[in-house]
């Protein structure tokens, strides 16, 4: 359970043949010893041998919301399945759920899943998105990223990227794969894994929201091969005016949500600890207010991954809004 008493939901995504099932099977086998209470939701084409766990099959069913953008579509199948799990747990039919793992089909976009959990009037009080884990086969990754827009979308939404099957790839292919991922999503943690050995990336405590962005968030550049997609890390000369930040980001996402692919960062708002920000298009995770700064990271930053939007304009806009609020002297600069 998260501090707010909500059950963490890990989303496991990745293209066909990227090793999702291997990782999930290994994770479930390792967790079986600790009476894990893990509910697994897999798409109807998935096939996982998971004797000790509760498995629900769903037919991925996207509900197109009127005037909604792609990220704000609702996964009705998931909403129904999660509600049914809650009912069964509360009636004592099944053991208490400690975690939900959703394995998506290879082509699924993780964002509607996050949107569904955070917007459903019932589910949002009982479940919280914990992390998005995306699998990539090292040998195929470069071609898939270049040719399959679904793969790029999954990487941009990822908190963790697991590069799999390194034994079937050359060192150059693995290095190129890491570089491609880094260019698309500088905030995602990357781990190389054989035979599902990195299974613990699915453990909710292991990937707290936003915290892996501390890895090396500031190495950011223009995404080669995706001329439209750019990323930039911003930092600030003073603590942010939090109300003004909320006004600005709300307005930015309303106007430009589909083109603001990802926002992650640690913000200093003048409290003892920072605020962890994590948003994917229109879906803003509830900001997490930490009690103290992590030992490894004292510098506030905010990473933007955008499409067809110049990060310098975003920086200028944020600074102007802060100056119009209570931080008249605050400067927003790009990290180098």
């Amino acid at each position: 359970m998260t501090p707010a008493g909500r059950r963490p939901v890990s989303v496991l995504s990745g293209f066909l043949g990227s090793g999702k099932t291997t990782l999930l099977r290994r994770y479930l086998a390792e967790s079986a010893q600790s009476e894990a209470g893990i509910a697994v939701i897999i798409n109807e084409y998935g096939a996982v041998g998971v004797d000790h766990h509760l498995v629900r099959m769903v037919k991925e069913q996207l509900i197109l919301l009127q005037a909604g953008c792609v990220c704000c579509n609702r996964r009705e199948d998931l909403a129904n399945t999660l509600r049914a799990l809650l009912d069964q747990e509360q009636s004592g039919e099944i053991a208490p759920i400690r975690q939900v793992v959703i394995e998506t089909s290879g082509l699924a976009d993780p964002l509607p899943i996050l949107f569904t959990i955070s917007s459903d009037p019932v589910l949002r009080h009982h479940f919280a998105a914990s992390s998005v884990v995306v699998m990539l086969s090292a040998a195929d990754a470069t071609a898939q990223i270049d040719r399959q827009p679904e793969v790029s979308q999954q990487i941009i939404a990822a908190d963790r990227v697991v590069v799999t099957k390194p034994d079937l790839a050359t060192r150059e292919q693995i290095a190129r794969c890491r570089m491609k991922v880094r260019q698309l999503n500088p905030t995602a943690g990357i781990v190389v894994s054989s035979f599902g050995e990195a299974f613990d990336v699915l453990a909710p405590g292991n990937a707290p929201q936003g915290a892996r962005s501390l890895d090396k968030p500031l190495r950011v550049g223009v995404a080669l091969g995706h001329p439209d997609v750019q990323s930039a890390a911003l930092t600030f000369s003073a603590p942010l005016d939090w109300p003004a930040f909320g006004v600005w980001l709300g307005m930015l996402l309303q106007a430009r949500g589909p083109n603001v692919l990802r926002i992650k960062g640690l913000l200093n708002i003048g409290d003892a600890g920072p605020v962890v920000m994590n948003a994917a298009q229109h879906v803003v995770h509830p900001p997490e207010h930490l009690q103290a700064w992590p030992a490894t990271e004292r510098r506030p930053y905010l990473v933007f991954i955008t499409r067809a939007t110049d990060p310098d304009r975003i920086a200028a806009s944020l600074q102007t809004f802060q100056n119009a609020g209570s931080r008249t002297d605050l400067r927003v600069t790009r990290c180098v």
Binding site: W242, S317, F321, A324
Partner: protein, 114 residues
């Protein structure tokens, strides 16, 4: 729900998440909530003025009231509802990257500093 004013706090916008809904509804934390709220409303007012719109808090400072110069008014519950409502009322996209809006805000900040 607040026992004093009967206002429902069914949903707290992400920008107000650091508030503890229980503390706010019981009165403690209400001053802090109102201070942030008024700061937010002041800034939104500066932004909307550029589009010929205005905003105010309702008496309980839980809802925003967006209006235009023709006297149209709409009550919205949160920032999530405010921007779509203001966009409809203005009849155009409210874009924080709009250079003219940013210049308007800078001019206002410069006037305030004088």
């Amino acid at each position: 729900m607040c026992v004093l004013c009967g206002q429902m706090f069914s949903e707290i916008h992400w920008s107000e998440q650091q508030l503890d809904p229980e503390q706010v509804s019981q009165g403690a934390g209400e001053t802090l909530r109102r201070q942030s709220r008024h700061a937010r409303t002041r800034l939104i007012g500066k932004v909307l003025a550029h589009y010929g719109l205005e905003v105010s808090d309702d008496w309980s400072a839980t809802n925003y009231v967006v209006g235009n110069r023709k006297g149209d008014r709409q009550v919205v519950a949160s920032l999530a509802e405010l921007w779509p409502a203001a966009t409809r009322m203005a009849g155009r996209l409210l874009d924080p990257l709009d250079d003219a809006l940013l210049q308007h805000l800078r001019d206002g900040a410069a006037e305030g500093a004088e």
